[in-house]
Amino acid sequence: MTDSEILELIRCSPPKGHRALFDEYYTYVYAISINILRGYGSAEDVEECVIDAFASAINKLSEDYTETIKPFIGTIAKHRAISMRRSLVSKTGRNVPIDSEEFAPLESGERVEENAEHLAMTDLLLQRIKELGEPDSTIIIQKYFYERNAKEISRMIGMNHAAVRMRCTRAVKKLRSLLKDFY
């Protein structure tokens, strides 16, 4: 469903429009949230952040909104996740690394080069994950990016959880051999 269709639906029938908004951007918001909260919060914290972000977006999304939704909802999700991370950090006493993306980037050429290198490595990582074939690549992403457990993954891809674990372990081994220089 396109943004304009979602916005039109929101104007005609807000509940349906909001559900459409949620369905279209759930993964995106979840991905932003987990990426910022990784290592700081639990799965429940991530879900709380997602719920909060959508509730906030729906409340802020006026009927006359006509812009692209993605940056709008992405920004809300990012701010909510950063806010939640600060809250979690204050409880645990952990520090947020200064090199995290949320901080203003340093402007040195070295930093730019480092970022480019990191991006290239991430691209390579995603490429190699794809090359594992399915369902292994999905299992790896769900497990290590979204931090889903085997039971959740098993429901998503229709395998039992033990089979998911077995495939996951083998896939990680293979991935590590493909990325020997990094891991």
């Binding site: 349906k16 990426n35 039971k151 372990t169």
Partner: protein, 519 residues
Amino acid sequence: MKKNNIENMFDNVNSETVEKIAAEYPTGDKKHRDYIYKEVERRVDGKYSAGEEVRGVETYRPRPYLRFVSAAAALVIVAGAVGGSGYLIKNSKKNSTSERAVPATEVSDNVEVTDALITTEAATAVTAPEFLTKDELIEKINNRSYENYDRVNIEYSLSRNNGVSIEHGIAMRDGITGNESLTKTWTHSADYFPQSLIDEYGLENLLKEEATCNEMFFYKDLYICIYSNGTDDPHQYEVTDRSNWKLDDPTVFRNLYSEDIAVDLDVYDIDDTTSGTVYLGRQCTEARIYADPEELQERLEKKYDIGHPKAITEPGDSSEDLITETILTVDNETGFILKAVTSIGDYKEEFAIENISFNEDAELPPDAAYIKSRIESCIPNCQETAEYDLSVLNKDAAGSEESADEEQAAETANDNIKTTYEVNSKGQTYGPGSYSLEPEYIDKLPDYVAIGIDGGKYTGYICTKEFLNIFVDGERAFDMQKELGNVSDTAVATEINIYDKDGNFKMTRIFYNEPENIK
């Protein structure tokens, strides 16, 4: 270089990567999404008027976990019909001495049934299954002696998720040159696709798009992979340095499912009792390996230092009494795992070798000329690939073409043979025929072909045109003489004139032929 923990592979990924992952890999099943959305609704409570309900907006598209051929990366895959099928492994003489190979699917775990299905000769050769003890079996598998053969071909199928997805592969190794190839093709049944996807894209399109194939060539220092699928999209290729690629380390067979099991035998429990069977005409040993899934996971994580993501703990699941169990069929001679059927509760996956052949029975991996021609019909998957130095491949391919040219030259030389025939007093050519005595070579044969009849008792010449005007196939006319003359009730006796080199009549001889060979 400092190594990273693989469980932290997604630490500090940037927004762009997050977006890519979100677009490619949806998360959360519908039930869970519904639960989350209810919470969202609760927080925006009051925004809806009474009686308004959220129904009928099922726009959730779980972009399949299957969308692996993206325009950008185009990594995986293609329909097996491409390329690889041209290199189907010929049936191993060791496997089957007749023309008929034994499909793995026809061979059950039961010895008696297996014997009944293999070819007669193979069954005769292997009548009393012998088997390895548990310790011998482990040693054999770990020795991987199949890698000592100069040439090995393996064709296999791997059925996952109770047959919903099938991987078919052909692996070839030339131990002399070190060149290898591995073609993997994936196909899926309709059950593989969520209904929402089928509704949106249509089953036929999905089946085509996800019928994917990787043709991987490990040629000298090059790794070349051609990705394609069942659609009309152009095939893409990727080239990199072979040393960067570990899928053939140390041989391409280490990339197969059999190796997944072989390398982790130590983390399984193995039944002390083994039994003998015959599979693909080879003496094999069957054994059962098993483990509690929880324990197996722990052992594997410990062995490979694989951890869980930091924030999430994996809940135990001791309430479900599942056992991971694999029945192995192992080749007694080489230790290769020819078949492995794994079941975990209601989940099942089955790996089965369909053909295995060694040395002279095995084909060589595709050569430079073939790989080059495949690349020429594809587009590079990125700029780096487009600029990759393929001079080694091109040079070797050119060498192959030169050889082909030499063969062509030899053929051309043969074409000129006719000009070397002797010419008789009437200006007609005569001599031994350098080509088969068949109508298609009539222009290349002399006017009179020298022959010997009855073991050389009579010699002379036949008039080529006259002879071929009588018989459908001149070679066959000669071949049939002795046998038909003595035993056939249907053979037709045909008189043939014999001449001298100048075309003068010498005698008439009777040729015996089946009616269908007489014009």
